[in-house]
Symmetry: C2
Subunit: 473 residues, 2 copies
Amino acid sequence: MTAERLVVIGGDAAGMSAASQARRLKSPDELSITAFERGHFTSYSACGIPYWVGGDVERRDELIARTPEEHRARDIDLRMRTEVTEIDVAGQRVRSLDRASGERAWTGFDKLVIATGARPVRPSLPGMDAPGVHGVQTLDDGQALLDSLDRAGAREPGMIRTEGPEVRRAVVVGAGYIGVEMAEAMLKRGLAVTVLNRGEQPMATLDPDMGRLVHDAMDALGITTVNRAEVTAIRTGPDGRVSAVETADSSYPADVVVLGIGVEPETALARAVGLPVGPHGGLLTDLSMRVAGHDNIWAGGDCVEVLDLVAGRTRHIALGTHANKHGQIIGSNVAGGYGTFPGVVGTAVSKVCDLEIARTGLREKDARAVGLRFVTATIESTGRAGYYPGARPMTVKMLAEYRTGRLLGVQIVGRDGAAKRVDVAAVALTAGMTVERMTSLDLGYAPPFSPVWDPVLVAARKAVTAVREAGTA
Amino acid sequence: MTAERLVVIGGDAAGMSAASQARRLKSPDELSITAFERGHFTSYSACGIPYWVGGDVERRDELIARTPEEHRARDIDLRMRTEVTEIDVAGQRVRSLDRASGERAWTGFDKLVIATGARPVRPSLPGMDAPGVHGVQTLDDGQALLDSLDRAGAREPGMIRTEGPEVRRAVVVGAGYIGVEMAEAMLKRGLAVTVLNRGEQPMATLDPDMGRLVHDAMDALGITTVNRAEVTAIRTGPDGRVSAVETADSSYPADVVVLGIGVEPETALARAVGLPVGPHGGLLTDLSMRVAGHDNIWAGGDCVEVLDLVAGRTRHIALGTHANKHGQIIGSNVAGGYGTFPGVVGTAVSKVCDLEIARTGLREKDARAVGLRFVTATIESTGRAGYYPGARPMTVKMLAEYRTGRLLGVQIVGRDGAAKRVDVAAVALTAGMTVERMTSLDLGYAPPFSPVWDPVLVAARKAVTAVREAGTA
């Protein structure tokens, strides 16, 4: 028997999860696995980079779940620093370039997994490539940023004064998850931090009324957030390094600039051979994560679009937890097992210092965009019984469909257990529950963990009233 | 128009929630509300008593959500220290006894709410009524215990050494929620704590393998737990106060004894007039919380049985969160609104110091008792990404139905966000999800809040395998 040949393009979460799961199910005699990774690292947590840069995580290698050597020890032929430059779909082979040796080679496959990830959006503005301007997408990026902080004398947390002549300044461009997490990291390194945000409020993944709460909390933490700020140029100083970030109205001095303006699917390879991409630029797959129209090609992770179960259409969401699930499912399917990815409800959690931020389902504008009519309810409560020490305020906003009362989305901003409360709504969305049914959910109650009415239930009760009143209006 | 007359028996969570909700919907001209409470307090958090006794909550009154005066200000005719001694169902009236004046009176009703709560199980053993032996059901109980601690010189947290001649000893009888919470409280007051547990492991609401983890953690906290210990007598000293607790095998010196051996529905009044009670001694109601067979009598809170949606039969669960929901629903229904209580899935959370304990759905023995065949999966993970500071271990046990893979129950023991994770399973149980569907749930992920696979999802993945293997065995 000749072994089937599996080729994996991309050595991070989705690709290596797929390879590992396939290896669990099939021996090397049954399935050969070759994986190509153009970077220096495999299976690392990009989501952990802000915490490494901020000093919560001490060493880079803690972010690496599995090294190339560990993968090789499990009979995965992993080619590091080797980029796939071409896919030959009909010929069932990929062409690769070994970046160290410059050598090019073709490798044949029976089954192919595309897990090429995402690349940071990097607007082509003057000075964008100046030293001191950093993305935070890869471990290499993180290391470069830390080196830059070294140079700015800000390597040790708290070393730098944020007032007076020695102040060092970080400008973070973008106020989404990466932006606010990097703002925290820069603050922890002792820099004065300004966040330049193109939108109306930070955290555009929330409705503006909830984003406003994040803005206020960032203010209170000493982070300056400038909204409606469109960057026009990066200025450099006499040493060629970044010195300021310019917007239409103003100029913000900067010793270091961090770009947190999102990512887009890395699908150049796949598009070059006509594989189907969706409206957000991600590959389109079926429920088994097979590329639409191709029986022997799968794709997963940050390079695909996923079905939004609430909106009923695809979205692009770059998130390690989805990538790992995709990899797991793809690995099962390529190895003759079975798994499907039904879709997402759009859950995301984050924090800035002790402020927790969470969302799931649709924002107001998402609901409008897909033709849903809805009501909203916003409540304030606490994460513990009000009398229990450490009870802190939390705001919950809930969207429910007009008439049916079906839950459409939840946003939470607060402290003290706020973020993971969104999981209750994520499961309720998945199950298609109404807010009325939610009011009687049997959630865990004890004074250290929740008020007698959990904040999510308080929001559901208010949403029930809103649905009823809208129906009779 | 004459106002309808609503009478409420019992002035805590269920009764006063019902009265308050009814008052929200109906003016005094439309509905008169008379409520009888035999104790000194209304609308207080019995669940908060351990934290008040332990010193986390400073003042008793912080546990009172609404005082008698506040209720009266909202046009509720609240009779404190007044016990209802008889219900005349046919005559639509209740007889009451004013404990202060000794006066007896009849009060007519058009609609009646029974919210008589639960009473602590207090075995009739020699010495059980000795000074220094305390239940912790009411605020009066809590005050008496604090007075007892005063007498033992243990009123200020940490005052008492737990070694040497001055050691003061607390024996807690029972190792359920109240038992372990009171063990923490006694520890915080500086006493040496022994927990006498009749069962195989503490926390009989968990399977013994999970209870074992609680036992080990209590050991590590310095709490001595004695399993399979049946109390036979309470011994008293020369001053008449408690001096030791006796079991069949041994004797445990005690300066104070706390009883945490559970509660049973307080339904003497209702049973005296033939209202229907279930196998656990609680009143039986329909979905609108109306007493079965009686159009104008409702019941809720600790005195009723609730439908267990997973087991398909009734249970008795004394928990403030259910009582509040019942009250809310009853209040709506008596005032011409609409609400139903579909049932529970059996969620409960608790903690001993930093150890969090949670459960929902069925234990192994519950599943067996109702004829369900199942598989189990137990995993260990952490509440945050492994590399994130403060990541602590958490054990998750999951039960899934044989063949169908439907989720049947989850138990969690751990630290750092362990307890409220059970809510995900509570919603999944409510929705009747399979463990396979759960593996792709879109739960919140970021390194400070979860590993890339949430522990609940890791357990679900293992349960999927267990279901498959059981099916082919």
